[in-house]
Symmetry: C2
Subunit: 161 residues, 2 copies
DNA sequence: GGTTGATTCCGCGAATATCGCAGCCGGCCG
DNA sequence: CGGCCGGCTGCGATATTCGCGGAATCAACC
């Protein structure tokens, strides 16, 4: 289904999603057309997707990770409810000290407060929600092979003080 | 530092990271060269990054979220240490009941066990690491935080019940 | 007013990349 | 054997990227 060539293509796209198919093909011994065809197939299957990822802190947004405990209610239902909220970027059911994980992005503290107290904590079944507010993103890489040095790149200030 | 044009460029790249600069420029009234220059700047600043993202379930991997408490050691140092590990996909310092968050992807349970016991929990300063193993990803949206009203949500993957 | 420097934008030609298609090849099966 | 299928390649037409120089804008300053 997914062979080693596919994996090599994905590896390269993880490092740089805009790398040309020709260049990828040259480096793994495949023609541009083949790489293109394989990428198309992988994309159609939902295995890989090339997207722009942003650093929320540098954009002045708040990134908050929620760990949720669910009582007296199916976890899947609560998950579905949380998924409906546009600020919620990621929801997963888990095994561990919490039942659900949700990643959230908000404009500011007021927005976050409204979301948590007015909406998340009022969802039926949410017994407890632990919030971890992100101060700084040290690494955000989807590499599995792991080249690509740290994205830190301090030096250019983004958000005016 | 980041103006509305930048945001519009990022918006489009979030949906499709391979969209051509010319097409983006045409849709927001900017030349290809300007879009290219802006994207280059945003990328250098670490605001945005175009990468290939994979579906861990479809690849048969494990996804685990770690919440870490740090004692007797600067959080930044521990974060740097964790960032070095290729399995660690995401690291952020936090305010809340834990000091660090790390997202991890492993091939299988054995790989995860080795990572946690042999490497993560032996990092100097790691006092406690809570692990949440993902059972099912209910939502994983790469789209620009949805609270900025965007039409619909292409590029969003919501696993149906 | 004029000058300088910094920034941002555009247009342009050359080099590349993408796209669709026709054709080739090896495996597979009746 | 002969036909078929999936995957690969080569190729020409079109589109995109890239690096440049130059124009417009703005602010600071003499």
């Amino acid at each position: 289904m997914i062979d080693d060539l596919d994996r090599q293509i994905i590896d390269q796209l993880r490092v740089d999603g805009r790398r040309s198919f020709g260049e990828i093909g040259r480096s793994i011994g495949l023609s541009e057309a083949s790489v293109r065809a394989r990428f198309g197939r992988l994309q159609r299957q939902g295995v890989v997707q090339v997207v722009g990822m942003t650093d929320s802190v540098k954009l002045g947004e708040m990134e908050v990770h929620l760990a949720v405990r669910v009582h007296h209610m199916p976890v899947a239902l609560v998950a579905r409810e949380l998924s409906r909220m546009p600020e919620v970027r990621y929801v997963a059911s888990c095994v561990g000290p919490y039942d659900l994980i949700a990643d959230v992005r908000c404009r500011d503290l007021g927005h976050l407060a409204e979301l948590l107290t007015e909406r998340v904590r009022r969802v039926n079944g949410v017994a407890h929600a632990e919030a971890l507010t992100v101060l700084e993103v040290i690494k955000d890489s989807y590499l599995w092979a792991g080249f690509r040095e740290l994205p830190a790149a301090p030096g250019e200030r983004i958000i005016p003080p």
